[in-house]
Subunit: 198 residues, 2 copies
């Protein structure tokens, strides 16, 4: 007797095909051209299958990116012992991502979702951003233990000091997003956070 | 012979009535409940008059707020000679605005417009935000001249250091927006910007 079809397994297979198709299309043509139709066609499912599980393309993209983040495991910042060098590497990488028109279109779309819906805001924050912010926070905590950071520094505020200015510049397009700019951010943050001279 | 009706003057009267109605409705019930219908009714014009001049409620709100800003004249930060005290006052005021649900709904809406359209982004930046950012920059410049700021400080980056972290926290709802938080931002920024000990 052949196995009975397993609807749970079939669902899981469709779900995975949809998320994979979403990432592939994002990579190939970016968020602007991404439609639920295109995802359905690529995944070999009907549009209604997507709408059964998600409210729209923003929600699918969020799930696809979140699974990518979680399957990569929690991000860890290298700890070379030189806090300034480690922060330069991560801030340069984030600035480069924001300066890339294709990656930045996805971030822009997710930021709009974040501002439009409190539920999506929580998900973007907790599933996509929190792991990145936590990785920076962990590195700052170890620097504080090593005496390279003011003892009384608030680590959440320290992370915002690194991240906030570049998102502001990116959002308002008020200036260039370059390595030099990234290094300037780290320089200012280090001046703010370094133990004060006795 | 009575004066002939003056269509230019009538247009200007309608435009002003529409912008005034927009500000009044924003003030009374906030952005969420604001519709083009409600603005038209309050201003005593037809909906089509609004759509002839604006693409939608986002564009009307932007014009209404921009005229309010420009009729108030360019904002000036007080210069008490104590940079830290002056910055505390302005950062506390911005944090309080972001913490206010009604004001914050308008800022949220304008941020969405900023992210959705490059044209509106430029207008929001240049007509609404630039005057505020420039006022802070002017105060920082005079502090630099007085020797209260590092000589080599980049003033645009200094402004972003003050403003970026709070918008990041507000957008992602990652923490409380209080006076204490505002003072912490100023404390960190001052540590970053103060002339370094010789």
């Amino acid at each position: 007797m052949p196995n009975a079809p397993d609807p749970a397994r079939r669902s899981e297979r469709s779900r995975k095909a949809i998320l994979d198709a979403t990432l592939a299309l994002l990579h190939e043509s970016g968020y602007r051209d991404l439609t639920v139709e295109a995802i359905a066609a690529r995944a070999g499912v009907g549009k209604q299958t997507i709408y059964r599980w998600w409210s729209g393309r923003g929600a699918v993209v969020l799930d696809a990116l979140a699974e990518q983040v979680s399957s990569a495991g929690p991000p860890v910042l290298p700890d070379s012992g030189d806090l300034e060098a480690d922060l330069r590497a991560v801030v340069r990488a984030i600035v480069a991502e924001l300066a890339d028109p294709r990656l930045s279109a996805t971030t822009r779309a997710l930021t709009i979702e974040t501002l439009s819906s409190e539920t999506l805001a929580e998900q973007v924050r907790d599933r996509l951003l929190r792991p990145q912010l936590d990785a920076i926070k962990t590195r700052l905590r170890s620097a504080r233990q090593a005496g390279h950071l003011r003892k009384e520094a608030d680590l959440d505020q320290a992370v915002e000091l690194l991240i906030g200015p570049m998102y502001h510049r990116w959002m308002l397009r008020t200036g260039p997003l370059t390595d030099e700019y990234a290094d300037g951010i780290v320089d200012l943050a280090m001046a703010a956070l370094r133990p004060r001279a006795a």
